[in-house]
């Protein structure tokens, strides 16, 4: 038999039919929905007079457009409140399970799906959100879709999708002290640029990847879209199985041995052909930070912003527009630059390991005067775990408080906005103009780098603050 990639194995086993010179009809195992990108899809079903085809394969949460304080009170913004209510109404009408606001399992869609055991190896997973690539960490094909496609999946549990090309990115070596999964993926994106993987589905492999925890793997896969990739995935292994078997939600649900036996087939065969292969050395990766207005504009934290000599002529207009927005100039160094805001959270870095890393660094230190910190857990379960482990106590002693779960300042649909002109070191995934609020200036970085900025008030190399 011809050797196959992991991606091909999963994709091919989900094709209901291939249209000649057209897309495949792909069956979807798990559909996640949220309040912002689903209402128009449900309107479409109503106009057609049809019900959701497989409600049991659909899970809903409210995360993008909710406040992260006083969640017990009615949402003050009328449009946001109506949108969240609309989701609840649609879920009732169609018999869809909803972990809505104030539900003990509520949280960011890409945090709760994995932690509740809905995301498993070999599945096809979609959601009307580009960071659906997160779930690829379990050896699943997971990708973000538009609202018309949400409607397709609600109506038929299938999606029409052209098969993407395949890329393999190997990262071998050992991560240095103070270097995290976030730095690895930011490094890769800085090498490929913001559109460098467009048209591809990426498989990550290599010793630096396989030695990562599931949380860290999710951070890597999460940002695949930031280099344009449809998604990213990692072959499941013992780390994956151990994580899944330990989830209280599903520990007793499955007969694990035969499942795992099947999952062991989920890897790229020796000799499988990729359209593009890249390799990086983890030993050389340093803590990363962005200086511009797309995630490809990243540098090692102790490097200088590129000069115009480094940028080819045609791109210089966009490059300078970006630096003007950020209030930076070519060639400048970022270390020591004052920061007014720090944001820890999002589907990229809102998991328990991220809170642990932040707490570890701020422990015994104090929040810098003049810094406003938004510390937002990715879910209710993460929040509970942080309390249980004593992380909240550490944070409070250092002058930080934990907010309630949600997407929060990552996209700033709610009140969690960074004011115009202010700098924010953020553990989220996008530094686009206005992403965290009109005029806000975002510097993407790891939870450790965010913590270092939070206790010093300036951009600081986290390696200087950890033992």
């Amino acid at each position: 038999m011809e050797p196959k990639t992991l991606f091909d194995k999963i994709w091919d086993s989900h094709v209901v039919r291939s249209i000649e010179y057209g897309p495949d009809v792909l069956f979807i195992d798990q559909h996640y929905i949220h309040e912002v990108t689903s209402p128009q899809a449900f309107n479409g079903l109503k106009e057609r007079g049809i019900q959701v085809f497989r409600p049991e394969r659909t899970l809903a949460t409210a995360d993008h457009n909710i406040p992260t304080i006083n969640q017990h009170l009615p949402i003050s913004d009328e449009l946001s409140r109506k949108q969240v209510e609309k989701l609840a109404e649609n879920c009732r009408t169609h018999g869809i399970e909803l972990f809505g606001l104030n539900h003990p399992k509520n949280g960011i869609v890409h945090v709760i799906g994995p932690e509740l055991g809905y995301t498993r190896p070999g599945m096809t997973i979609v959601c009307g959100d580009s960071h659906t690539s997160t779930h690829g960490a379990f050896g699943a094909i997971a990708f973000g879709i538009g609202t018309s496609e949400v409607e397709m999946v609600l109506a038929t549990q299938c999606i029409l999708q052209p098969k993407p090309k395949k890329m393999r990115i190997k990262v071998n070596g050992t991560l240095q002290k103070g270097v995290t999964a976030k730095d690895v993926i930011m490094y890769i994106i800085s090498q490929l640029s913001t559109g460098g993987a467009t048209g591809y589905f990426v498989e990550y492999s290599g010793t630096a990847i396989t030695s990562m925890s599931m949380e860290a793997r999710m951070t890597v896969c999460n940002m695949s879209i930031e280099m344009g990739a449809r998604g990213g995935l990692i072959a499941p292994d013992e780390v994956t199985y151990r994580y899944l078997k330990a989830l209280p939600e599903i520990a007793e649900t499955f007969d694990w041995a035969p499942l795992i036996l099947n999952w062991r087939e989920l890897n790229s065969d020796p000799g499988a052909v990729f359209d593009r292969e890249l390799e990086f050395n983890a030993d050389h990766i340093k803590p990363m930070i962005t200086f511009g207005t797309n995630p490809g504009m990243g540098i090692a934290i102790d490097d200088a912003i590129p000069t115009l000599d480094d940028i080819d002529g045609e791109r210089s207009t966009s490059f300078m527009k970006s630096l003007d927005y950020m209030g930076f100039v070519p060639g400048m160094k970022l270390l020591g630059h004052p920061v007014g805001y720090v944001f820890l959270g999002s589907c990229t870095n809102g998991r328990i390991q991220d809170l642990r890393a932040f707490a570890q660094l701020v422990r015994g230190r104090k929040k810098a005067p003049g810094v406003t910190a938004l510390i937002v857990p990715g879910s209710k379960l993460v929040e509970q775990q942080a309390i249980k482990e004593g992380l909240v106590e550490i944070l409070e002693k250092a002058g930080f408080e934990l907010r309630q779960p949600g997407c929060s300042s990552c996209l700033a649909m709610n009140e969690d906005k960074i004011p115009a002109g202010q700098y924010a070191v953020s553990t989220s995934n996008r530094n686009f103009e206005g992403r965290q609020g009109p005029g806000a200036r975002t510097l993407l970085a790891s939870p450790l780098t965010a913590a270092a900025a939070a206790v010093t008030g300036v951009i600081t190399d986290p390696r200087e603050l950890i033992d």
Binding site: V16, I19, Y21, G22, P23, V25, F27, V36, T37, P39, Q40, N43, G44, E47, R48, H64, N65, L79, S80, K82, Q83, K86, G128, D129, S130, G144, I145, G146, T147, S148, M152, A155, T156, Q157, C158, L160, Q161, P162, P164, T194, G195, T198, I225, G228, R230, N294, E314, R315, T317, S318, L411, A412, M413, R430, F432, E433, G434, R435, P438, G439
Partner: protein
Amino acid sequence: MSKDKFTILESTCVPLPLENVDTDQIIPARFLSATSREGFGDNLFRDWRYDHNGNPNRDFNLNNPRYTGKVLVAGKNFGSGSSREHAVWAIYDYGFRAVVSSFFADIFRNNCLNNGLLPIVVPDKFLKDLLSLIERKPGTEVRIDLENQLFTILPTARSVSFDINSYKKECLMKGLDDIDYLLSLRNEIVSFEALKK
């Protein structure tokens, strides 16, 4: 449900000579609370189009009366970032029917095709020349012939062919809908599910 049909479009163009225009710029997140598809055009490129007092920015090409038309011509890697289909609804609602660039983000391109907005990929050099021609001669008309997959700059008769998969092309030309097609496959989908178990 049927949609507007796309066959031939002749129009002037609006240039947007910037690279990596992301969907947060096309429609900022704070305008995503609506539960219908209508009305997003008012906030298309909101933070580039208006200053923080809500006054139009004169420098931005959508506010320049010399530039009008149903074709948006944008720099490389247009539509990156968020999967929000609201970006396509905003562009369509504003009045555009085609977007030309040398490179589109994947999800954005799918969203375009699902809403009757034609994404046209042209070579880098062609795009560069087209942008500078429009800036020199703002009334420049182009012709988009979907059936023959041909994009022509009318005054110079310079043409370039563009790719589109034949299934999507037929959908656009006939105003057909993917969901109607998928619904027609429901029996096949049920059999597939049974087989999978």
